[in-house]
Structures are given as structure tokens and as C-alpha cells.
Symmetry: C2
Subunit: 348 residues, 2 copies
């Protein structure tokens, strides 16, 4: 066998959520948006679907996307780095800042990919347990990390940490970068931290089109940071990491804020229904600021519930963090959630 | 400033070929296919352009693509790894096999990205000069490399190394992996080495849809290697590194071998015209097995010729390898090459 690096050999690898082709399945396991993207996305992809666009390389730095996104987000385009999904951005950040044997830190339970990225890089990984009410205990935060990740809102909890706490953490980790992963921020009451990059010099914010903009299939994410940081990250990214149709789709999606606002309102309304309904079924549900809810039980194991739901063609995410386990259930359409509740009533 | 790794800080970064939006420009600088992709590609993208496909994550391992590509290529799907362009595959290979301080090797002059990938990884890079007739001198090949790259056909020369030499090299580097980058193999007389992975255990072959299949804008490449190697590489790749429309496009493109054969024949016919025409204009032209020709001159500098062509809206690639320089000119349509020759006659 070819000698793979030992850190790769020892890695289990990140297990992505199950993706089925079965159209009958109700998919509430990977926090996809239950609604299609804006009609303008389809128009934009149609317009870009020409022989000339497909046969030529895309813009390496996605200038057109950055110009439009910059206007909508009110940040300078030079502060934006595009990625092939925000996972690509997280990979680029790891490679830019973390040497072999370096240290990466994130709270736990959180996005499991952070640990996997450390493993691929041959870096050490330390995690800081959230408090019982999903706050950060900064006294426990390791010093001298090369890179820190905080998902805000967090997954699987759907909880938010206040900007003042993030500010404090950024001071603690300075000058090392603090990455705030805002994959779910559009579903929260919080304001994105993208406008704090001027004040907090080591802040890097990541965003995605996979959740709020219904484009998980198209792979587009981005980072917002100071231009001098972006310039370094550009050296690490693949030259043409985003394709021409994905860029067209994302540009159209972010331009259509009217559609986004409507979709967001529907998802928040459904989420508000889920909390009492799932609580009534005996789940301990964490109030969510994201497009999913974190459900635990003290009276019985949740793994069999996940399995029985799957048998009934409803897929939720069973997550187990060293024995701390629960079901992370994406906010679907009202009809999907009605069906989920009906099936859960039958099971429980 | 945030403390970026010193190897990143010191890196100039890979400079991709210039990409202009100007539709009037004749682009002969990045070896794009001058013809559009197969009509079936457009049909397939149209069919995949649904709200459900865009809002859901794509298949992590691109099962549907691998099944079709496996049939066309006559390799088992488990031997195929998909990438967001073959650059993504080259990155994955580097991260899987090369530790910080490790050694990467390739011939020179060749694809400059190999050196950049070593720089990003914090690895050493050694290159072995091609002989005057573009052959490999295996006596000079460094021992104990973690990863070796050979582009075959090579860029910028467009030349091929015989399978027997690659076989010999794979024995020399064993058990370390030897990557044969076949981005241009479809334009050559050679048979791809993808069927040798059984006999040559450390062989990994990379391929792309950017050149022969006219899909540079869509970012799809792949590696062919033994299944136990692919399993390790999967741990390193981003979970969803290829989007749903790119996968649909690539699947349709590789299925339409009839269209591919027609496009290939046109490009080879134009390439055959370029050699005598450019030679008559005083260039020293290397006979090419790719979709570009490498043109040098002994009588005058070529950089001013590149600049004058650019002023006249024809873009070719000026390449300079430590003083060894030339123009790499992509094979365009007949009309584009006629225009190139006309302008060169006026310039020279």
C-alpha cells in the first residue's frame, strides 16, 4: 500500500449526513432549506448556460459575485473570499494558519468537521465544553491556538453566543485568528459579525448559500475578513474553486433579498411550531436560532426513535458526542413537520 | 496582522492564466477547448436544474457519475475519486501523502502548480530538468520523495513520455505514489494509463473535463487509483466537493463519446496546421501531443510578441522558467488560428 501520512491513515474521516435519492423520503437531517431557491436563480443559471461560459475558466476571484455580494452585505469586495461551499473556506483557513503539530480549538458539542480538519492537517485539536446553558466559559479556552472556530449559531444546539462574548474571545486569542462560522446566522435574531472586521483585527466570518439561500447542491460559501487576510487566503485556495453556474446562482440568490425574507419568515414560523409540539411529545428541545432544533430525552434512548423514523421514511440526524446524544431535526415545510409529528406520536 | 504560516506568507501564489470577460478577445492562453460542450451537457444541466436538486446536498462520492464514468473508462467505480477540477485532486493528493517538510518532485519545465502545492503544504520541492528532447533522465530522479508528479503530455511542451519510462519511474519511486497528470491525454496518440493501476501499485492517474470535454467553467476532474488508495483520499476531500450541475454536466459529457471524437478530430487537424505555419514565421515549435503548441525563438525575444498580440486582442501564454521562455499557444478554431497567423505576420 502507498504510504499515506499517518494522520490521514488514523483518521476515521468526517461522515457527512446521509444523502438519499429516494424522492419519497422526508429529509430533515442536513439542514437543507425545504424551499427552492429564488426564481431569479434559475433565470441566472439559464442565462449563464452557454457554450462559451462552460468551456472557459471562471473568474478566479469571482469578481462579479464579490461586487454584488459586497453591495448587498455592505462590505468592500476585497474583504470577500469565495469558496466551494463554506467547508472549502474552513479548509483554506486551516491550511493558511495551522502548521503540522499546531493547535486548533472549538467549543463542543459543535460542528464535527473542525476536528476532522485538524486531523487532516496533522494538527492537535482541543475543545472547550459549552456550559449547561450553551454559553462559552472563556476561562477554559486554551492559549496559543493557531486557529479557533466558533459556530454561531451553534450546531447541534441552535444556540447563539452574544457579540460581547465573541469580542472577548477574539481579544483572548489575538493575534491568532478567530473564525466565526455563521452558516445559520440568517435564521437568528443576531446581526452578522461581518461588519466587525474593522474593529476586531483577528476576526474572520464564514457564510454559506447552502442553508438560507437553498443552494446546498451548488456549493458556494464565502469568508469576510480584512483585505490583507484575504490576500493570504487567496494563495491557498484552488485557482478556480467556484464554477461559473454556482457563481451565477449565488449572485442571483443574494440579490433577491425579497425572496430570502419570505423564505426566512416561513422557516421561522414552522420552527416556532416545532418547539411546543416536540416538547409535548416528551423531548427536551433547546430553543433554536437556526433552521433546526436539538431534541434530547431523559426517559428513553433516542437512537431507536431515529431508526424508526427512518423506517417510516423520515430522516433526522442522530448525533452522539461521546455519549451526549440527541436528534437534530431540520425545519422542513409545515406539511413535512406535520408528518413528522404524526409519526412521532405513533412511535412514542 | 494575523500570523499566517511562514510558508504561506513567503509564497507568491500560483498565477492562473489571465481570464478576461471581453467577448472580442481570442483566448489562446489557458488551453480551453474552442468548441462548446456536447449538446447533451446542456440537456443534462437543464434536467438537473430543479429546486429540489439545487436545495439538497449532492452525492458526496458522486455515485451516479462514477457509475457512468466507470462504464465508459472500463474501470471499477471504486477506483474513481471526483474532484472540483483536477487541481482539487492534486491538492487532495498533496495533503494525503506529503507531511510538512516532506519532498515533492516533478520534471521541469512543467505545470507550475506542483511547486505551489508544495509551498502551501510546507514541503520541499525538487525538479528534474527534461532532456533537450523532452525525455526523463531517471538517473537524476531524487529518491525518497513523498509524492511525484509527471504531466503526460507535459505542459508547456506538449510532449509525451513513453509508458515504459513511466513504468520504470514508478518502480524507482515505489512505494511512494507516482501521479501521472493526464489533463491533455485525450489529444495525444497515447493510451491513458488508467488501466495500469492493477500492475503498477503506486500509480495514480488524474484526468479533467476542462480540456477535451469543454467544461473548464464547470470544474470537474477525477483520479483513478486502486480502491484502497481512493478510500484514503476520500478522507481528505471536502464532503461535497462537486456540485450537482457540474456532476450532471460531466456525466453527460463523458457519455457522449461520439461528440468528443468529432471535437478531438477538429482540434488535431487545426494543430497540424499550426506547426508549419508557426515554423514558417520563425518559431521553433515543439511537435505537440496536446491542445497547445510550445513556441520559442532564437532570433528575438518572445515577450514583446505576446504583448503585441494582446494589444491586438489575441491572448497567448507567455511562460518563463528561470530564463527559459516561450509562448504556449492553445489550439483554437481554424478561424482563430487564421487570425493569429495573420496578426503574427503583421507583427514579425
Amino acid at each position: 500500500m502507498i504510504p499515506v501520512r499517518s494522520n490521514i491513515r488514523d483518521l476515521n474521516g468526517y461522515t457527512p449526513g446521509e444523502q438519499f435519492n429516494d424522492p419519497d423520503i422526508i429529509k430533515l437531517n442536513t439542514n437543507e432549506n425545504p424551499y427552492p431557491p429564488s426564481p431569479r436563480v434559475f433565470e441566472a443559471v439559464q442565462a449563464a448556460l452557454t457554450g462559451d461560459k462552460l468551456r472557459k475558466y471562471p473568474q478566479p476571484l469571482a469578481d462579479d459575485f464579490r461586487r454584488v455580494a459586497g453591495q448587498v452585505l455592505k462590505v468592500d469586495p476585497s474583504c470577500i473570499l469565495v469558496g466551494n461551499g463554506s467547508d472549502d473556506i474552513l479548509t483554506i483557513l486551516t491550511r493558511a494558519f495551522v502548521p503540522e503539530g499546531g493547535l486548533m480549538v472549538s467549543p463542543t458539542p459543535s460542528y464535527l468537521l473542525y476536528r476532522t480538519l485538524a486531523g487532516i492537517q496533522g494538527a492537535r485539536f482541543e475543545c472547550v465544553p459549552y456550559t449547561a446553558d450553551w454559553q462559552l466559559d472563556l476561562n477554559q479556552w486554551p492559549r496559543h491556538a493557531n486557529l479557533c472556530f466558533v459556530a454561531n449559531p451553534n450546531s447541534p444546539s441552535g444556540t447563539l453566543v452574544e457579540p460581547a462574548v465573541i469580542r472577548h474571545l477574539s481579544s483572548l486569542t489575538e493575534p491568532s485568528p478567530l473564525v466565526v462560522d455563521e452558516a445559520y446566522v440568517e435564521f437568528s435574531d443576531a446581526v452578522s459579525l461581518i461588519h466587525r472586521i474593522g474593529e476586531w483585527p483577528n476576526l474572520i466570518v464564514t457564510r454559506t448559500f447552502s442553508k438560507a439561500y437553498s443552494l446546498a447542491g451548488m456549493r458556494l460559501g464565502y469568508a469576510v475578513a480584512r483585505p490583507e487576510v484575504i490576500r493570504e487566503l487567496v494563495k491557498v485556495k484552488d485557482s478556480y474553486n467556484c464554477d461559473v453556474l454556482s457563481l451565477a446562482a449565488a449572485t442571483a440568490a443574494i440579490e433577491d433579498q425579497h425572496y430570502f425574507t419570505q423564505v426566512r419568515a416561513k422557516i421561522l414560523a414552522t420552527r416556532e411550531r416545532m418547539l411546543p409540539a416536540l416538547t409535548a411529545l416528551g423531548f427536551v428541545v433547546t430553543p433554536s436560532q437556526a433552521n433546526f432544533v436539538w431534541c434530547r430525552r431523559s426517559d428513553r434512548a433516542v437512537l431507536p426513535i431515529y431508526e424508526e423514523l427512518k423506517r417510516r421514511k423520515i430522516l433526522v440526524r442522530y448525533m452522539n458526542y461521546d455519549g451526549y446524544d440527541g436528534l437534530r431535526i431540520s425545519v422542513g415545510t409545515d406539511a413535512e413537520i406535520d408528518r413528522l409529528i404524526t409519526e412521532l406520536r405513533a412511535i412514542l
